[in-house]
């Protein structure tokens, strides 16, 4: 890092420099979005890789998160005689908090790492330098499509996660534990607000997480030292930095959107 930024080994200075580079990199990506429209097929291909290929893990995890929530909440609410509220509490917990955050963490692990490793290897094998030689802007051709794909895929994946979570909660609550089906749904529809919980809770939040994860993944890959160690290190940093950024941003966004 110090060699790259020409700064000292001071951790604070290095982190600040990293954040600054990342911000400038975001501006470069945004500036190149119009140019990357020429490579719209590349964006579609990335959307396939980061979005459609992540569906299995997102759906499985959503189902299990919903199921365990239903199970846990049923037994806690039974203490107060309020098991009929299971449906609404499962839905609110998933929409407002667990859906966006768990999807984002899974997305960082499943898609973020592969973006970093792919771009890192492109950098290590001089493919990016070759693109520049051929007058193909690597930001527009490599970085922007992946960034856009992350931004678009996250809200869609999060909606799928939430739907599977509610289905899992219904499976445990209604089919196994015997909560009345009508009570389950009517309590849920009475408490879930479509703008507050679904649009701002699920869609906006997960879009913000998608942008942050994609930015970190692309940036780490793009600036990796061109060695196999460097790629490994960059992949790790993607997961660590994305996880911290997601959880910190989650608090800030929740405070704003509430």
């Amino acid at each position: 890092m110090s060699a790259q930024t020409g700064r000292s080994n001071n951790v604070v200075m290095d982190s600040l420099a990293q954040i600054g580079h990342c911000g400038l990199f975001l501006l470069r990506i945004l500036a190149s979005v119009p140019r990357s429209m020429r490579y719209v097929r590349e964006t579609v291909r990335q959307l396939w890789f980061v979005g459609a290929m992540s569906l299995t893990i997102i759906m499985t995890c959503g189902l299990f998160v919903g199921m365990v929530l239903g199970l846990q909440l049923y037994h806690v609410l039974a203490i107060f005689g309020g098991t009929s509220a299971t449906g609404s509490v499962v839905a609110l917990a998933i929409y407002r908090e667990l859906g966006p955050v768990v999807t984002a963490l899974l997305f960082a692990g499943r898609a973020g790492t592969s973006i970093t490793a792919e771009i890192g290897l492109m950098r290590a094998t001089d493919q990016i330098a070759a693109m520049e030689m051929m007058a193909v802007d690597p930001i527009a051709y490599v970085a922007a499509p992946r960034f856009l794909a992350g931004l678009i895929a996250m809200p869609l994946l999060c909606c799928v996660f939430c739907a599977m979570g509610v289905f899992g909660g219904h499976l445990v609550g209604v089919s196994w534990l015997g909560i009345d089906n009508g009570t389950f749904w009517s309590n849920m529809t009475a408490t879930v607000d479509v703008w507050q919980d679904i649009v701002s809770g699920v869609v906006w939040k997960s879009a913000a997480f998608g942008a942050v994860i994609a930015l970190i993944a692309v940036f780490q890959g793009y600036t990796t030292p061109p060695t196999s160690e460097g790629v490994a290190y960059a992949t790790t940093r993607t997961v660590v930095a994305s996880s911290i950024a997601i959880l910190a941003l989650d608090f800030v966004l929740t405070a704003f959107l509430m």
Binding site: R41, V44, R45, L47, W48, G51, A52, L55, G82, A91, Y95, I152, A153, P155, L156, L157, C159, V160, C162, A163, V166, W185, M188, T189, A190, V192, D193, V194, W195, Q196, D197, I198, V202, V203
Partner: protein, 290 residues
């Protein structure tokens, strides 16, 4: 090329699935009607106690939602809360002598405003006024009617801080709200045990706006709902004199202990003839013998 096409088809399916999930969440698991408010008109009402009623709480006729609570405010110098209801235009035919009541959904649910139609031939118009209201019933009021503990109240001090002695503050904490008609007008500044009088001396910090509280008002410690936090409720008296800074509230009603109340019910019910129930600790005595 065929490879590329399969990407595009798969990606398209993914996008469609994502939007289908969003549509499912929005239509099947949430009530879109709750968030959408059509053209509406405002109706003014006044309640002596709004309890836990919140803005955007539903307004219902015959249990069906017809609008929402737009605003809740307390005008300085008055002891009734102004509540503005926003009712949808299509439910425009509400008789002027209808009664607005604050209800609770279930024992622990949210509160809402229920409107029962009167028989008048004229209807409330935009900006109109519903004069007949019934306030939120607080659990303590209902219990104290059963038990017959009228509650003592007393003179509040004037503009800034007022002292009140309670024999039991229960779970009241510093910073808890002081409410009049269910609207917060101040907070509890301090709670101290008095070493000579052997009771709890509570200092209430009341907003200067509310300087016209009669000096024979009473203070009572109430609980919000069944398991809510505790607050001090000021019940205005009829005295022409207002409270002044540093005054002492003589008449107070302490926090009710659910155990004591249940104990009194049990003792009253079982021993109608024998007056052997001790005034204090009556509920503890039978348990202690076992």
């Amino acid at each position: 090329m065929s490879q590329r096409k399969s990407y595009a088809v798969g990606t398209g399916m993914f996008i469609v699935l994502g939007f289908a999930a969003l549509a499912y969440l929005a239509t099947q698991t949430s009530s879109i009607a709750n968030s959408h408010q059509g053209a509406s008109y405002a109706v003014q009402t006044q309640f002596a106690n709004v309890g836990q009623l919140k803005e955007r709480a539903p307004v219902k006729v015959a249990g069906v939602r017809v609008g929402q609570v737009q605003s809740i405010s307390l005008e300085p110098g008055k002891d009734v809360a102004d509540v503005t209801l926003s009712i949808e235009k299509k439910y425009g035919q509400i008789p002027t002598d209808s009664v607005a009541t604050i209800y609770t959904s279930g024992l622990l649910g949210d509160q809402y405003v229920g409107v029962q139609f009167g028989s008048a031939k004229t209807f409330v118009s935009d900006g109109g006024h519903l004069g007949l209201t019934r306030s939120a019933t607080s659990l303590e009021d209902m219990l104290s009617k059963f038990v017959g503990a009228g509650g003592a109240a007393d003179a509040i001090g004037g503009t800034f801080s007022v002292k009140a002695d309670f024999t039991n503050v229960g779970a009241l904490s510093v910073g808890a709200p002081v409410k009049m008609s269910g609207v917060a007008i101040g907070s509890v500044a301090s709670i101290k045990a008095d070493p000579t009088k052997l009771d709890a001396e509570v200092t209430l910090a009341i907003d200067k706006k509310f300087s016209q509280i009669p000096d024979d008002s009473s203070a009572a410690i109430f609980t919000s709902g069944l398991i809510g936090s505790q607050y001090v409720a000021i019940q205005p008296g009829g005295s022409p004199n207002s409270l002044k800074d540093g005054d002492q509230l003589v008449l107070t009603q302490s926090s009710m202990q659910l155990e004591d109340l249940i104990g009194k019910f049990l003792v009253n019910g079982s021993s109608s003839g024998a007056n052997n129930a001790g005034g204090n600790g009556s509920s503890n005595t039978p348990a202690g013998k076992h």
